[in-house]
């Protein structure tokens, strides 16, 4: 039943294509899209459990055995991310149903979302470096359209920047792959890993690893995050939430994969650089998060902080730290989606994105206000919500390896995160009520329910960490022992 592996990507692709032909049947569009996400959740859970029993699963396309063909590989790390992606996607879709508007829905919105998800899942699952590039392209193309869809002037302006920067980074990516292929003569990720281990990580390979790092830093917003606040501020809320939750994570995934599977032989150099970049991102993100009164800006800079936080775990690279990174990735996907949904909804009900023009919202929308409170303490890594365990484990990793500067930056950034959102909470939710009950924009259940679900997820992940512990521990273990991955791909016939 390894054929299941292709479904998290194939289902959304097929759905995306089929929906093109039913442009005006909105109910069908919604139903199929949501159905695909639910199916993916089920598949991911099933795969995750099978991996625990049978080890890493793989699917060779066309029956071409590695290293010659393309294949999908499901290890715990990938499938955990697929699972969370599917959950977040389902919830964001739910939000889109009542917010995106008929005109978008009839303009193939759901097709693009499905393609986006296909690209994201494909990136997580692929075991071939060039195929990773292609999956990136699928994801990016869909994201280009989703940013610009709607055609507002500001959307077009930001999408130009977004497209140009990403085309540039794709070009970097292609060249990096060419360099690596030139050196080691293969594209299969396990094979690359084995060959690098055999020849040793030569200085040139380390140099090439930095080209990869440039590419993925751009995608993930690691230090190269300047494109992010602009382009995440312009699309409709549901799309912004998908972006905030998923897109940078693909870049982070790629960094983690590449630097644990290929270029892990000289961590004193490469992982230190990642640590420095992560630290600087934390600083830059923190400064940005308190610099503005525009909620969208604050929220976007919080994405940057999350990226730095997760990659500290990779930089440190112990079992605990990597587990922490994985937990934090899961947490961040859920909570960033929630944060973007809440911020977008606030702007909708208040009619402004500026903190100064909102006040006392909690009186009008009590439940909504408390959801924001939850997201605030969750993002600050406070217990017992989902950010806590990741923070503790990453902290442990930094202590074990003596990376006290990173420890300090990580924990200080949590304070900034708290402060940046606390300002929103105090200004916008508390304070004198500005909107009279007659004038208030009615809060749709379709906006609230997705937020409630995500809040429940962050609480559930926090209290129920133990449920995920075996999977996360297996994921980190595989990352730390590339031989497990190599054996499963190359020597398990």
């Amino acid at each position: 039943m390894n054929n299941l592996l292709v479904l998290p990507m194939a289902l959304p692709v097929l759905a995306g294509i089929i929906l093109i032909f039913f442009r005006n049947q909105i109910k069908l569009q919604r139903g199929i899209s949501l159905g695909v996400s639910f199916a993916n959740i089920g598949i991911a859970i099933y795969l995750l459990n099978r991996i625990q029993e049978e080890g890493i699963l793989r699917l060779d396309f066309g029956g071409w055995e590695p290293p010659f063909g393309i294949l999908f590989v499901a290890d715990s790390f990938s499938v955990i991310l697929v699972l969370i992606t599917s959950i977040v996607a389902a919830i964001c879709l739910l939000y889109a149903f009542s917010s995106i508007g008929k005109s978008h829905e009839k303009m193939l919105f759901y097709s693009f979302v499905n393609f986006l998800i296909a690209g994201v899942n494909g990136s997580f699952l692929t075991g071939d470096l060039f195929n990773l590039y292609v999956n990136f392209e699928v994801m990016l193309l869909a994201s280009y359209v989703l940013i610009a869809l709607g055609g507002k002037k500001i959307q077009l302006r930001e999408s130009i920047k977004y497209v140009v920067i990403n085309v540039l980074s794709s070009w970097f990516f292609l060249i990096a792959i060419a360099y690596l292929y030139g050196s080691v003569g293969t594209l299969n990720m396990a094979h690359i890993s084995e060959r690098i281990a055999e020849s040793g990580q030569t200085p040139l390979l380390t140099g090439i690893s930095m080209v990869f790092l440039t590419v993925f830093a751009l995608k993930s917003g690691l230090l190269l995050y300047f494109w992010l606040p602009g382009s995440y501020s312009v699309p409709p809320t549901a799309v912004a939430a998908l972006f905030g939750a998923l897109l940078t994570k693909v870049g982070i995934y790629a960094i983690i994969r590449v630097f644990t599977l290929f270029f892990y032989h000289d961590p004193d150099f490469t992982h230190t650089i990642i640590g420095i970049l992560a630290g600087v991102s934390l600083i830059g993100g923190s400064i940005g998060a308190v610099a503005y009164k525009d909620i969208r800006q604050i929220v976007s800079y919080n994405v940057v902080i999350g990226v730095g936080f997760i990659l500290i775990g990779l930089s440190v690279g112990t079992q605990a730290a990597l587990e922490g990174s994985i937990y934090y990735l899961m947490h961040d996907m859920i909570v960033k989606a929630l944060l973007f949904l809440l911020a977008g909804t606030m702007i909708k009900v208040a009619g402004s994105a500026s903190m100064d023009e909102m006040s006392g919202l909690i009186r009008n929308y009590p439940l909504f206000g408390w959801l924001f409170f939850i997201v605030m303490i969750s993002l600050a890594g406070m217990p017992p919500l989902s950010g806590f365990i990741g923070k503790v484990l990453i902290g442990q990793g930094t202590v074990e390896t003596g990376s006290y500067v990173l420890l300090a930056l990580a924990f200080l950034s949590s304070i900034v995160v708290l402060y940046s959102l606390l300002r929103i909470f105090l200004n916008c939710f508390w304070g004198e009520t500005m909107i009279s009950f007659e004038d208030e924009v009615p809060m749709k259940m379709g906006w609230l329910i997705p937020c409630v679900l995500l809040s429940a997820a962050t609480i559930g992940l926090g209290l129920g960490t133990e449920v995920f512990a075996p999977y996360v521990s297996d994921a980190a273990n595989t990352l730390l022992n590339p031989q497990i991955y190599i054996d499963a791909i190359l020597y398990d016939k």
């Binding site: 010659f68 050196s183 060959r195 030569t202 300047f226 017992p384």
Partner: protein, 803 residues
């Protein structure tokens, strides 16, 4: 047996239910139902007193995150029992009081839900054996305190106070978490009991001191120690029952609890002794000194709480000296400081809560707490006055109130500590009693202010919002009970000592408790000892200074307002916003041009730097294939074309020049015998050029770029560097091939895939999946353009036209 874990969960459960039940049971004030919870918990805990007093301890385990050693294990021993009784006992009284203090118009369901949340969290803090779980509850106390301070969140000052409290206590919490992680890393355990046993092996560990400092930071911020005390006065924006409960009797004691709990772990360390004692005494002095200048009764009480917390802190600090050389008959005497500390902790909870309730009654009754507007209330509020007097005199250290006993013991401790010959106490030891005494004088003064300026003197009805009258009976019950306790404890202190404090001492000094009895017989009269003379001195000087207050009050004006830690805090927040805005705007220009420059610079530093640093550029190109003249011709043509694009005057020229580069590449493919690629490349090149030309007439004027010379040269430099790096790496790769490519496998394509054309076989079979996805990319692009054209924003359209 009901486990302590369940006990902690009950208030949480209540907190979750209150908002739902509130609407159902509106006949009776909801506080009456809530009141049952602390009473039951108090009784439940009180039943443990006999067994705990006989030396028993109880451990309960519930697994939470066993994988990471984070389990919800609780430990009931002497130390946690004292705190537990205070939390539930004072909690019950405060809730009783609040029923009369808050009327039905307030959002009571929120109030009691927060209060229960706090009570559960606080019980969690003191009963947790696992430090990580302790941390979980620790942060929950900060959060519930935040919610309670901002109970009247429409007031700006409430919000500011809540924010300050949250930021300071949570920051301390984060630092404490870092400390806990370090402890976990040193000992491999998160359990207090295990850590205490293992830690002697790790006194020399390099993380021992950092962990200690970080944990102390957490304790100091929570217990409002100097200079983190600034949040406590601002927290007085909370409703008075909250101030009486959280900000005098319970939450602020969490830091003290932590210090007491960690004494067996860090206690033998000289830094611990000086930090805890020193910060404690400084806080005690600063708090009492500042309290005197306050005009708001609640602010005065806040500073007095700070001062008293500092005093208890210093006692715990001094007691740690006993652990320096392990158990000996000489060192036992120093543990008495901790005994005194615990005793005063209990006493403080009684008299300070009573005083807060008194202030609440005054505020509630006459509508102001400003000392300048109050006076002469004694005749109108005799019972309140009596309680205020009992509380204040106890705090001032006068008999026959419990504060007298613990104050005397405090003086005994500071006098004893001088005798110690470690920690360079022979030089500095004398300072301790001096500071303690001076601080006590100020304490005496502000206690007198509470009594005399509020209740005696001239009654000024015209300056009050409402005429003074005695509070309703319900409001008085709680403070009366506390007032009675203050006196009862004075007369029967040893019951408290034997049943509660001695077992707690065993928790703080486990190694000592096995050897000897740590009990102290408390007596009100022990002859004319130095400590009694100190008390007499406090009274004499206190009275003199109180009478002459208006003559020396000027010294408070010496220190300008802007020099306070409070203004520092405000300045930091304000500056943060302004500066971070400046910094971020500086590099977030919004110009694509700048962003591309960032990317290239990043690349140059990272990739170029690495190549140079690792010596990757050490390669030889001698063996490369020779370059034919025709190659030179094509290469130079392309280069010229590329350079010329930059100087092109019209868009048309640029497009055509761009075409030159593309066809050049195609020619290279021909030369390198890759006809498929050459064909593809020329088709792509033709189509793009044609498309460009088609779109050409819709594009706006080609404006000449007018960037300054410096920008131009920087750009030139960047271009050259990026190009150089790419070419060098390519050459290096070519020369440093590590393995043969797997591509030879595909040469067998006819046998493998039945295809005579290897390229086609790769595209459609071996790597058919890539091709399929590329087709999808094209599809997305296609329908994407379709939707972009179709779906134009109506408003946006106008904007575009106006441009």
């Amino acid at each position: 047996m009901v486990s302590v874990n369940l006990l902690i969960m009950i208030p949480f459960l209540a907190a979750a239910l209150i908002p739902f039940l509130h609407k159902r049971i509106s006949r009776l004030h909801i506080g009456w139902y809530v009141l049952l919870i602390p009473i039951i918990l108090f009784i439940f805990l009180a039943l443990y007193i006999p067994s705990i007093a006989s030396g028993a301890t109880y451990l309960f385990m519930v697994n939470w995150l066993p994988t990471y050693g984070i389990n919800f294990s609780t430990y009931l021993d002497g130390l946690s029992l004292i705190f537990g009784l205070i939390i539930t006992g004072v909690g019950a009284l405060v809730i009783l009081y609040s029923i009369y203090y808050l009327n039905e118009n307030e959002s009571l369901e929120h109030f009691y839900a927060y209060l229960m949340l706090f009570m559960g969290a606080m019980l969690g803090v003191i009963f947790s054996d696992n430090i990580m779980v302790l941390y979980v509850f620790w942060e929950l106390t900060s959060i519930s305190s935040f919610l309670l301070i901002a109970f009247w969140f429409q007031r700006k000052r409430s919000r500011e106070g809540a924010q300050k409290a949250l930021l300071i206590t949570v920051s301390g919490g984060f630092s404490m978490l870092a400390g806990f992680i370090m402890i976990g890393s040193i000992t491999g355990s998160f359990s207090f009991r295990e850590i205490i046993e293992i830690i002697p092996d790790f006194y020399d560990h390099h993380l021992f001191i950092p962990a200690m400092l970080l944990v102390l930071l957490g304790a100091f911020t929570k217990s409002a120690q100097f200079p983190f005390h600034i949040w406590l006065p601002s927290a007085m924006e909370a409703p008075t029952p909250v101030s009486a409960y959280l900000h005098s009797a319970t939450m602020v004691n969490a830091g003290l609890y932590l210090v007491a709990r960690f004494t067996p772990i860090f206690g033998g360390e000289v830094a611990w002794f000086w930090l805890v004692t020193g910060i404690g005494l400084v806080t005690m002095f600063w708090g009492s000194f500042t309290a005197v200048r306050q005009t708001d009764l609640k602010a005065l009480l806040a500073y007095s709480t700070i001062s008293q917390l500092g005093m208890i802190m210093s006692m715990f600090g001094m007691s740690s000296a006993a652990l320096n050389n392990g158990y000996s008959t000489d060192s036992v005497v120093y543990t008495q400081a901790a005994f005194a500390g615990l005793f005063h902790l209990i006493n403080h909870a009684t008299f300070k809560s009573a005083l807060f309730m008194v202030v609440g009654i005054i505020d509630h009754g006459v509508g102001t707490r400003d000392i300048r507007r109050l006076g002469g209330l004694a005749t109108y509020m005799p019972i309140t006055f009596t309680i205020a007097m009992i509380g204040s005199f106890s705090m001032a250290g006068l008999p026959p109130f419990n504060g007298f006993l613990s104050k005397e013991m405090f003086f005994t401790s500071v006098l004893n500590i001088r005798e110690l010959n470690i920690y360079s106490l022979e030089t500095w030891g004398t300072m301790l009693p001096v500071i303690a005494w001076v601080a006590s004088v100020f304490t005496f003064i502000y206690c007198m202010i509470i009594v005399f300026k509020t209740f005696l003197g001239k009654y000024q009805e015209e300056r009050l919002e409402r005429p003074a009258h005695e509070a309703p009976v319900g409001m008085l019950i709680a403070p009366i009970i506390l007032g009675i306790l203050v006196i009862v404890i004075f007369f029967f202190p040893n019951v408290l000592g034997n049943y509660l404090i001695v077992p707690a001492m065993a928790s703080i000094f486990p190694t000592f408790a096995a050897e000897t009895d740590l009990g102290v017989t408390i007596s009100a009269w022990h002859g004319f000892q130095p400590e009694l003379w100190m008390t007499i001195g406090v009274v004499v000087f206190g009275v003199l200074l109180f009478i002459s207050l208006k003559y020396w009050k000027g010294i408070y004006a010496l220190l300008p307002e802007s020099w306070s830690f409070d203004s520092l805090y405000n300045a930091i927040l304000e500056k943060t916003e302004i500066n971070s805005n400046k910094i971020t705007n500086y590099y977030m220009t919004g110009y694509l041009r700048d962003y591309l420059v960032y990317i290239y610079i990043f690349f140059i530093i990272l990739a170029g730097g690495t190549l140079i640093y690792t010596g990757a550029l050490d390669f030889n190109i001698v063996d490369d294939a020779p370059i034919d003249p025709i190659d030179w011709v094509i290469a130079i043509t392309m280069s010229v074309g590329a350079i010329a694009v930059i100087f092109a005057k019209s868009r048309l020229t640029a497009i055509l020049l761009n075409g030159v580069i593309g066809y050049g590449v195609a020619l290279f493919f021909v030369l390198l015998r890759a006809p498929d690629l050459a064909l593809t490349q020329s088709v792509v090149e033709t189509v793009t050029t044609v498309l460009f030309l088609v779109a050409y007439k819709f594009l706006p004027e080609w404006k000449k770029e007018d960037s300054p010379r410096r920008t131009k040269s920087v750009n030139l430099l960047i271009s050259i560097l990026v190009g150089t790096i790419f070419v060098t790496v390519a050459l290096a790769v070519q020369n440093g091939k590590l393995f043969e490519s797997i591509s030879s496998y595909f040469e067998n394509s006819y046998e493998l895939a039945g295809a005579k054309n290897i390229v086609n076989a790769i595209l459609s079979d071996f790597r058919g999946f890539d091709t399929m996805l590329e087709v999808i990319v094209l599809l997305i692009a296609g329908i994407g353009i379709f939707t972009l054209i179709k779906l134009k924003a109506r408003k946006g359209e106008e904007e575009l036209e106006n441009k």
